[in-house]
Amino acid sequence: MYNFKKIFRKKINWILLIIYFSLFLSLIILFKYIFIIKKEVNSNIYDKVRNRELIVFNNVENLTNKLDKIDNIKYVYKDYQSLKVYNNMIGENIIKPYLKNDMPTLLIGSYPINNNEILLPETAFVNGKDLNFIEYLNKELTFTLNDNLEITFLVTGIYKNSKETGIYYNLKNLDYLLSKTPKSITNYTRVLVDHYKNVDKVINKIGNSARLYDPNGIEEINAYKYLIKLLIFLIVLTCLILTVILFITSTIIYYENKKERFMLYALGYTNYNICFNFIDYFLKILLVSFILSFITYIISMILCNKFVVTDNTVLNSLFKIDNNYLFLIPIIIIVLVILSILYIITMFRIKLNSKKGIEI
């Protein structure tokens, strides 16, 4: 077994340390990046309500028995034409009936629960001006619903509208809202599925008459699917480069340690021990580089959090301090696989050379 002091007394090992350190750092950042993108895309793109909302061309009454038997259905409700509300101060808006968990993140207040409660955006463009709606929190506002009926809502919360717009209403109270505007109800049914991945399964179970209510989301899903594929390709490419560099540098070290191996052989060491010694030597350099790169990443996270301010959400998440270090697992697996292959190759090299009767 080598001790660390002995390994780093050799100047060449410092060069190897820098090379491996750089590669591990790039792998850490790339894997963290793909973990973030996958998480963001899954929660903010794929799992959007519009990608889970189906329309079934049949009445709710006719479907109740059939839909009750299907798992993965979160909620069943009547189909309706758009629910528009108008108010002098906040202009015209579309009401979005969503379940509480599907509503955007609250900025202030609480989510609507009762049938006369709504959630407003922080800002909106009304009559040629950008207006802030925080002042309407906990106030009652009277709207004209679908151009023909006056209805009063209590604003229970405000959400930050960086992406979403519109007024949110609790889906569980939709029947109350539709009872006020019966002309908006169609004879069809809408179904909310629990997860985007189960949509296809639910469509198959319902049959031919079910399809996505708003297929526009598919274009968005496709655009992101290809982005993720590109990232995975980049990671594969980096891993490939890491593997090639590891093998070539291991060969360089193998030649550098020629005299040492010869000495061990002369002292009576077995091929297995000589090979294990070499792997141990190599592993220690890798281990130190990995630890150093991880420490560097932690330090850069701390520094970025303190000094770097950016609007880029992905970049912010990349250097955000959190307790999720799952992205390290694939790196460790890659290194272990490479080391095992290296062990086999070294063993093979030593055996081959000793058979030939030349230096190991």
């Binding site: 790039s26 655009a223 992101y224 490419l237 992905v314």
Partner: protein, 397 residues
């Protein structure tokens, strides 16, 4: 002259030099390919996907003065068409192709557009209001969009030039199977939706044609949106801000979360730059390793009586050889990389079928400049170490 020959021979005899050259070539080619790939993907999305007709259609909800807004939009040269709900889009049954899908009712979405749409088969969709449409080259029914199965795809080529029957979805009521309206529309061509990785069920016609047909089928109660199409995505910000100044808020009908895509691409660009720095650092380390290895040989040569000038000359020749061969190695690996990317990768990663890997001369220049800097650095180190060696010897004497 003989000294030069010996140095060259010595360089090519050393197996480790080959390994170092392979590593340098791989690192440089890797940094160029990663940066070019990021750039090419970004350009591909910007020029193709995000500039497609659907991404250039915007809507304004319930304008107070409809006529005023329509006049305003018509006066803007970037706006190529203005229409309402009738001309926007709707879903239709296409009985002509049902037999290819085991008799299932097959739905297609026909969207109204203002400009011309180029076809890869047949003719382009004209910008005039004729009763013609253009469909995707890879068609997949709306019902099967979520399933990634090529068996569900359908080739519409045999239907080019033929009049196709379309039945409006909105003319049917639940529980009522009788179809009471049918229309004929000619399929003039097929557009390349594979290039967009998208729009598997979207056929396009002129917005006036669509509005004319829809008005015969349905009456839209809340015709409160005004839609308009712009000529190029580049003008999006200009048109939207001009409309905002006039008091209208327009938003893209595609409702796509651009922020995450843009942020991801920006971060990817930073990562690309980071990988470039890392690759160059590795190259510097390899050159330093070579220098370090040569020191042992220099010491041996000094014992044999070589002069400092000659040693410096040998070292310079060796570094130049390393530089020239590194460039050759870089070109070889770059060519291999491009070949693999263009010929083998699209089979495993269909997303790369459409992306042209643009090797920017700037990337090449950057790598070349860094290599020259590294060489200059190695020269300086060589000279300093030789001078230090000389002074040490004097001290010893």
């Amino acid at each position: 002259m003989s000294s030069l020959k010996i140095t060259i021979k010595k360089f090519f005899r050393n197996k480790l030099n080959y390994l170092i050259l392979i590593l340098i070539g791989i690192c440089c080619a890797f940094s160029i390919i990663v940066n070019s790939l990021t750039y090419s993907t970004k350009e591909y999305y910007k020029d193709n996907v995000l500039n497609w007709a659907d991404y250039r259609i915007f809507s304004i909800l319930h304008p107070e003065n409809r006529e005023k807004l329509i006049n305003k939009l018509n006066s803007m040269e970037e706006v190529i068409g203005v229409f309402d709900e009738y001309g926007y889009y709707t879903a239709w049954y296409m009985p002509d192709i049902e037999e290819h899908f085991e008799g299932k009712e097959i739905t297609v979405r026909i969207s109204g557009v203002a400009g011309e749409i180029p076809a890869v088969k047949g003719e382009n969709l004209p910008a005039t209001d004729e009763d013609v449409m253009i469909c995707p080259i890879t068609y997949r029914p709306l019902e099967n969009l979520l399933v990634e199965n090529t068996k569900l795809e359908f080739d519409l080529t045999p239907f080019i030039g033929k009049e196709m029957t379309i039945v409006p979805l909105e003319s049917r009521s639940p529980g009522k199977d009788d179809i009471y309206k049918e229309f004929k529309i000619k399929l003039v061509g097929l557009y390349d939706n594979d290039r967009l990785n998208n729009f598997y069920h979207d056929c396009y016609t002129n917005y006036n044609t669509l509005a004319k047909i829809r008005k015969q089928v349905t009456t839209i109660k809340n015709n409160s949106h005004i839609y308009f199409q712009i000529d190029d995505k580049i003008n999006e910000e200009k048109v939207i801000s001009e409309l905002k100044k006039s008091g209208y808020f327009a938003h893209s009908v595609m409702d796509i979360d651009y922020v995450l895509a843009v942020d991801s691409f920006d971060t990817l660009e930073y990562i690309g730059k980071g990988l470039f720095i890392i690759s160059m650092l590795i190259v510097l380390c390899l050159f330093s390793y070579n220098l370090f290895r040569n020191k042992k040989i220099i010491k041996l040569n000094k014992i044999l009586g070589y002069s400092n000038i000659r040693l410096l000359f040998n070292s310079i020749i060796e570094t130049i050889l390393l530089f020239i061969n590194s460039c050759i190695s870089l070109i070889i690996f770059l060519l291999v990389g491009i070949h693999v990317f263009k010929n083998y990768l699209p089979d495993h990663y269909p997303s790369f079928k459409q992306i042209n890997l643009i090797i920017s001369p700037l990337e090449f220049k950057k790598v070349f400049i860094v290599l020259i800097f590294i060489i200059a650095f190695i020269f300086i180190i060589n000279i300093i170490s030789l001078l230090l060696g000389k002074s040490n010897r004097k001290n010893i004497i």
